[in-house]
C-alpha cells in the first residue's frame, strides 16, 4: 500500500500555492515592482534543471545536443538570477530605514 511519490509532490505543490497566495496578499503597492523582480529571480531556480541537463553525460561527450540546451539554459537562468537579485537590491535602496536621532 505504498503511496505514489507523485501524490506527495502534488500535495506539496498545492500547499505551496496556498502559501504563495497568503504571502503576497498584503504586499504594499510601492513594493510591487521589487516583488515582481524577486519572484522573477526566484523562478530561475529552473537552473536546477539546466544544471542536471548540462551535466547529464559522460565526460567525453560534453557537447551533446541535449547538454547544449542545458548550457544555454544555464546562461539564461544565470543572467536572470544575478540580474534579478541585484536589481531588486538596487530598488530596495530607497527603503533604507531612517537613522535614529
Amino acid at each position: 500500500m505504498e503511496i505514489d511519490p507523485f501524490i506527495f509532490r502534488f500535495s506539496i505543490f498545492i500547499l505551496s500555492i496556498f502559501i504563495g497566495y497568503y504571502v503576497v496578499w498584503s504586499v504594499t503597492p510601492s513594493l510591487h515592482t521589487p516583488l515582481m523582480s524577486v519572484t522573477n529571480a526566484i523562478s530561475s531556480v529552473i537552473i536546477v534543471g539546466a544544471i542536471i541537463a548540462a551535466l547529464a553525460s559522460s565526460s567525453d561527450k560534453i557537447f551533446e545536443i541535449s547538454n547544449i540546451f542545458g548550457f544555454l539554459a544555464i546562461i539564461l537562468a544565470a543572467i536572470n538570477i544575478f540580474g534579478g537579485f541585484l536589481v531588486t537590491q538596487r530598488m530596495l535602496q530607497m527603503y533604507k530605514k531612517k537613522k535614529k536621532k
Partner: protein, 466 residues
C-alpha cells in the same frame, strides 16, 4: 554525490527560504532581508544540485563558466539599467526564464535517461505530459514577455493590436496544444514536440498583443505567474521539490499580484488578461501622450516616506480648503507626531482665496497656533527638512516666481518646498492653480505626486500610518 533524501531536504530548505523571501518583500521594513533569503535559497538549490548530480568532470567546469558568463551579464544589466526602465527589464528577464524552461524541457526530451525518465522514444507517460506542459508554458512566457518588453520599451506601439476573431483563433490554438500533447504522448515523435513549442510561442505573442501599454504591469506579473507554472511543470518532470515549491509559489503569487494590481487600478482582471475588450487601454495611452514624466505614488508610499522622515512641513493651499481636508490633515499630523516626527505648517500669505483662508481652516481643525508659521519665518527651514507635504497648494510653491520675469506670478515670494529631501504634492491632476501657470516642481526628481482629492488621500495616508 549526496543521497536523494538529503538533497530533498535541502531543496525543501531552499523552498522555505524562497517563501521567506516573498514574505519579506511584502513590507518595506523586511524587504532587504527578503532579498537576502532569496539569494541564500538560490545558492543552496544550486549547490545541492551540483552534489546530487555529483558530476565534477570537465562538464562541470563548463557549467561554472556559463554560470559566470550569465551572472556577469546579469550583474552588468542590473547596474547599468536606469531605474525608470524597471518594468521592461523585468519583462525581459521573464522571457529568459521562459526560454530556459523550454530548453530544459527540450534537453529532457532529447536525453530522458539523464533525468530518469525512460529512454528517448519511450519516455514515461507522466513525465512526458509534465515536460510538455512545462515546455509549452515556458514558450508562452518567453514570447509573451518579449512582446511586453517591446511594448514597454516603445519599440512596438503600446496600443492594443486587435483583429477580428482573435479570441476564436486563440481558442483554436489552445485546443491544438492539447491535441499535440495527446499525439506526442501516443507517438513519442519529435515533430509533435517541436510543433508544440512553436504553437506555444505563437500563443504567447497573441495573448499579449491585444493588451494596452497601460496594463503592462499587470501583464508582467501574469507572465511571472506563467514562468512559475512552467518551473513547476519541469519540477514534476525532474521530481525536484525545490522546483515544485518555488514554481507553485511564484505561480500563485504572480497571479494574486496581478489581481491585486488590477483591483488597485480599478480594472477588471479578466478584461485586462483577455485584452482588447474595453477601450480603456486607448484612453490611458492618449492621456499620457506629450507629458513630461512625473512620479506618482499612492497613500502607502506617502505614508512610508512620512513615517521615515524626522521633520515634515505641511504646506496647505486652496485645494485643502476645497476638499475640506483640514480635519483629516490634523489627524495625519497627530499620527506623525506620535512617531516623534517634527511637524510644522507653512502658510503662504496668499494661499487660498481669501486673506487668512488657511488660518480659518487650521483653527477649525484645532491646529495650535505655535505650529503655524508664515513664509518669512519658515522658508529657511525647508532645506533642513525631510518631507514637504503640499496639500492642494500650487502657485505658492512655484519656483518660476523667482526665475521667470515673464511669468504672471513673478516677484511673488514663494515657499521653497523643493529644498526638502522629498516633496509630496496632493492634488487631483497636473492642472495649474489660480494663476494658470504650470508648476515645474511636479516633474522634479524629488517630487512624488499623489493624485487624489486631498481629503481622501490624507485619510488614506492616516490609515497607512498606523
Amino acid at each position: 554525490m549526496i543521497s536523494a533524501n538529503l538533497s530533498a531536504i535541502f531543496y525543501l530548505i531552499s523552498g522555505i527560504l524562497f517563501i521567506l523571501a516573498l514574505r519579506g518583500l511584502s513590507s518595506p521594513e523586511t524587504s532587504r532581508q527578503g532579498n537576502f533569503f532569496g539569494i541564500l535559497g538560490m545558492i543552496i538549490a544550486i549547490t545541492v544540485t551540483f552534489f546530487t548530480v555529483g558530476n565534477f568532470s570537465n562538464a562541470f567546469n563548463y557549467v561554472l563558466f556559463f554560470l559566470v558568463i550569465g551572472g556577469a551579464i546579469g550583474a552588468f544589466i542590473a547596474f547599468k539599467i536606469p531605474m525608470t526602465a524597471m518594468p521592461e527589464l523585468v519583462a525581459g528577464f521573464h522571457s529568459l526564464v521562459g526560454l530556459a524552461a523550454v530548453f530544459v524541457a527540450i534537453s529532457a526530451f532529447l536525453n530522458p535517461q539523464a533525468f530518469n525518465l525512460g529512454l528517448p522514444g519511450n519516455i514515461k507517460l507522466a513525465s512526458l505530459i509534465e515536460m510538455s506542459i512545462g515546455a509549452s508554458v515556458g514558450a508562452i512566457t518567453f514570447s509573451g514577455s518579449i512582446i511586453a518588453f517591446l511594448k514597454l520599451r516603445g519599440i512596438m506601439s503600446g496600443s492594443p493590436i486587435i483583429f477580428k476573431g482573435q479570441h476564436f483563433f486563440n481558442l483554436i490554438l489552445g485546443i491544438s496544444i492539447i491535441v499535440l500533447i495527446y499525439f506526442l504522448c501516443s507517438s513519442q515523435s519529435q515533430s509533435f514536440f517541436w510543433s508544440l513549442i512553436a504553437v506555444s510561442f505563437l500563443i504567447g505573442v497573441l495573448l499579449i498583443i491585444p493588451i494596452g501599454g497601460a496594463d503592462m504591469p499587470v501583464v508582467i506579473s501574469m507572465l511571472n505567474s506563467y514562468s512559475g507554472w512552467a518551473a513547476a511543470g519541469i519540477g514534476f518532470t525532474l521530481e525536484n521539490t525545490a522546483l515544485i515549491i518555488t514554481g507553485a509559489l511564484v505561480g500563485s503569487s504572480g497571479a494574486i499580484l496581478s489581481y491585486i494590481m488590477c483591483k488597485g487600478m480599478n480594472r477588471s482582471f479578466f478584461n485586462v488578461i483577455l485584452g482588447g475588450f474595453g477601450g480603456d487601454a486607448n484612453v490611458s495611452k492618449e492621456k499620457s501622450k506629450d507629458k513630461k514624466p512625473v512620479k506618482s505614488g499612492n497613500a502607502e508610499d506617502a505614508a512610508f516616506l512620512l513615517k521615515n522622515a524626522s521633520s515634515v512641513i505641511i504646506v496647505p493651499g486652496y485645494g485643502m480648503a476645497v476638499a475640506q481636508a483640514q480635519h483629516a490633515l490634523r489627524e495625519m499630523v497627530d499620527a506623525l507626531k506620535k512617531n516623534d516626527i517634527k511637524v510644522s505648517y507653512a502658510v503662504h500669505p496668499v494661499a487660498g482665496r481669501m486673506p487668512g483662508h488657511m488660518n480659518v481652516l487650521l483653527a477649525e481643525a484645532n491646529v495650535s497656533y505655535d505650529e503655524v508659521f508664515e513664509l518669512d519665518d519658515i522658508n529657511n527651514d525647508f532645506a533642513n527638512t525631510d518631507v514637504a507635504f503640499v496639500i492642494g497648494a500650487n502657485d505658492v510653491t512655484n519656483p518660476i516666481a523667482k526665475t521667470d520675469p515673464q511669468s504672471p506670478i513673478f516677484g511673488m515670494p514663494v515657499l521653497d518646498v523643493e529644498k526638502c529631501k522629498s516633496v509630496l504634492f496632493v492634488k487631483r491632476s497636473l492642472s495649474p492653480g489660480y494663476a494658470g501657470v504650470d508648476n515645474e516642481l511636479f516633474y522634479r526628481d524629488n517630487t512624488l505626486m499623489l493624485f487624489a482629492d486631498a481629503k481622501k488621500m490624507t485619510e488614506d495616508i492616516v490609515k497607512n500610518l498606523n
